[in-house]
Amino acid sequence: MSDLETFRAEARAWLEENCPAEMRTPAKGDEDVCWGGRNFVFQSEAQKLWLERCVAKGYTVPDWPKAYGGAGLSPQETKVLRQEMAKLGCRSPLNSFGIWMLGPALLKFGTEEQKVHYMGQIARGEIRWCQGYSEPGSGSDLVSMQTFGEDKGDHWVVNGQKIWTSYADKADWIFCLVRTDKTNKYQGISFLLFDMETPGVTTKPIKLISGNSPFCETFFDNVVVPKHQIVGELNRGWDVAKYLLGHEREMISGMGGDGGVTSIGAAMKAVLTEEPVLRAQMALFDVENLTFRAHGERFMDEWKTGKAHPAYSNLMKYVGTELNKKRNELVMSIGGTQALEWESERSNGGSKARNWLRTKANSIEGGTSEVMLNVVSKRILEMPGA
């Protein structure tokens, strides 16, 4: 047996012994997701137990080094662990922007002390993070941000406003882009970390067209941030942010579909048989969907071997998010009048309609389709002009 197969057997055995039965059922909705953090209320004893056991084993962040709370697994081992978890239907023990975004940035840009401290907290699910990038006046044009940190010797005093801060009202800490030099547009931004309980921080949820409020406006009124709470160099926060945006883009482009190649048409055969023109749209969509899956596979293989253009993830983000919007338009069309329902139990609280509306943000958040096309055109195709 190869080392990897040995690992597979061990992982399988560990999961079977340690993952509570209740945690092997599909999550019913957002409320079943474990986000951790100071104020998180576990939905069940099983949810708590599952998190604790994974934390002890390093399995909340299996590919992070052991020193920072991970299990130190190789990429191959991590993939095997995920496969075994999927086979058993294990829920994710912990969801977190700390895991997905801040962690990778700290690993690349953080000091050893920061890694041990913050990544450890993330791995243990102790601190829930949010991200402070966009501002009302700077959406696509991120570097035009105005939130300013005034240098006061051993600390900054931050004033300004962020928008589109995911779950800011539930987060414990924020990683935040703050202007620390007004004279330099790009190299005048720093990447700061601070506690959302710091005096002067307030949040206000934004209600979306889907009826949900996953985002907030976040206000900073003379917020004191000690100088050691910076990641990377002073005024070079844009490097950290760009690195993170790449990660975010990959995450979002992964949404361009159902995570697989299964057609939604088969389940809707009864409707489609009677609607030949709609069926044709679905058929053409399936061609695009199969294409995007193959494209994603090829991109990942090229990315891993260093053959992909650095800006290629922008293309995938564009294609994937536009496809996902199209998919949801079709889901609504095929769902017909039932998909219009907004609150009924029959419609699972309007889940089709709300998901459809939610997908409209895909091509805006993490860089609009327009910005993606600009980047592809300039950086990959090398089209002339500013």
Partner: protein, 378 residues
């Protein structure tokens, strides 16, 4: 007929535009939405519609109405669409009135006065599945005593629970899939055996799931001829379709205008985003789509008003085109607004929701494109 509005029609447009903008703008819609109104519209506004003469716009002058046609009804609907004004106008004053115009005098006398007064609301109970397929009606009306006994279910009855009467299509003969053998009935909301469950839709309109559990109606509840309901149904549906298309011209134009204004003010990268050529081209293309939709809708309305043989073809094309163009307008609208377009606070998302409801109403663009193909002989 010339494809331009005449002076009377332009006057009507002015007055409808002023009325909706002042009495039923988007803030009015928000108010009723946010109070969780069980009707989804304001009875007070419906009364005001009556005072303006709108509720009887298609009712013959001899019976107290304005005796106008689809073009005029469409003028009102476009302003309704532009302002997202919630009302039973499309179902009651357009679709139901067109059906009742083919009913006998007793029936008309029973319902027209309430409509004219803005006191009556009528629901259209046609759909039985999630997609529009009127020839597939399975709801049964058996002969019983002096009349009929109706058994079956209906869905997507807009404003159903607010209605005083439902126009119910049921099968008195023939098999599911046949257009012969259908009959339309006026069923009182209080009829024994009739039950409704209201459900809120994505655009905050209320729709009812209706159960007909052996509902007894008299013979005089029949609208038109027994077994010959398809003729009435077709007329009613086409009026509803071209009306929905006109409302979508309003919704799409409203969304488009709002978006163009935004393009002219929002700054990114130190430039007003309307300066970016990629957005300019998409804007110009969208404008062309909406102008095309406006044209085919006007054409379909005038052919209906003429009683032209090709009206059905053009209505199908108009519903399809208005649906496609309006859908493009709201999608481009949300995308071009960026993040704020996703917020409930901004109006553009409300247009997207309304578009979805209207696109589905009485057959979506794909359904009608299919009908165009069939009518065109392939």
């Amino acid at each position: 007929m010339a494809m331009t509005l005449n002076d009377d029609q332009n006057m009507l447009r002015e007055s409808a535009r002023d009325f909706m903008a002042s009495e039923a703008p988007v803030t009015h819609f928000r108010k009723f939405r946010d109070m969780g109104c069980k009707d989804g519209f304001s009875h007070g506004l419906w009364k005001q519609f009556a005072e303006m003469g709108f509720t009887g716009i298609l009712i013959p002058e001899a019976e107290g109405g304005m005796g106008m046609g689809q073009i005029e009804a469409g003028i009102v609907l476009e302003e309704i669409g532009r302002n997202l004004s919630p009302s039973p106008f499309l179902t009651t004053s357009v679709a139901a009135v067109e059906a009742l115009k083919l009913a006998d005098k007793a029936m008309r006398d029973r319902w027209f006065p309430g409509i004219l007064a803005g006191e009556t609301v009528i629901g259209i109970a046609i759909e039985e599945g999630v997609k529009h397929r009127p020839e597939k009606i399975a709801c049964v009306a058996e002969r019983s005593g002096n009349g009929f006994r109706l058994t079956g279910q209906k869905q997507f009855v807009v404003q159903g629970t607010s209605s005083d009467m439902l126009i119910v299509a049921a099968r008195t003969a023939g098999a599911v899939g046949e257009t012969d053998g259908l009959t339309l009935f006026a069923v009182d909301k209080d009829a024994a055996g009739l039950s409704m469950e209201a459900t809120r839709l994505v655009d905050s309109a209320m729709a009812a799931h209706v159960k007909l559990d052996g509902v007894q109606v008299n013979a005089d509840a029949v609208i038109g001829d027994v077994d010959g309901g398809w003729a009435v149904l077709s007329k009613m549906l086409d009026a509803g379709r071209v009306g929905a298309a006109a409302e979508m011209v309003g919704v799409g134009t409203g969304a488009m205008d709002m978006t163009f204004d935004y393009l002219k003010t929002r700054k990114q990268f130190d430039r007003v985003i309307g300066e970016f050529q990629a957005l300019q081209h998409r804007a110009a293309h969208l404008y062309g789509e909406m102008e095309g939709a406006r044209s085919i809708v006007l054409k379909a309305q005038s052919l209906m008003d003429e009683g032209h043989a090709k009206a059905e073809l053009y209505v199908a094309a108009a519903k399809a085109k208005a649906g496609l163009a309006c859908n493009l307008a709201v999608r481009e609208g949300v995308q071009m607004h960026g993040g704020i377009g996703m917020t409930d606070e901004y109006d553009i998302g409300l247009y997207m929701k309304r578009d979805r409801g209207l696109n589905e109403f009485f057959g979506d663009a794909y359904y009608h494109a299919d009908r165009v193909a069939t009518m065109n002989g392939y």
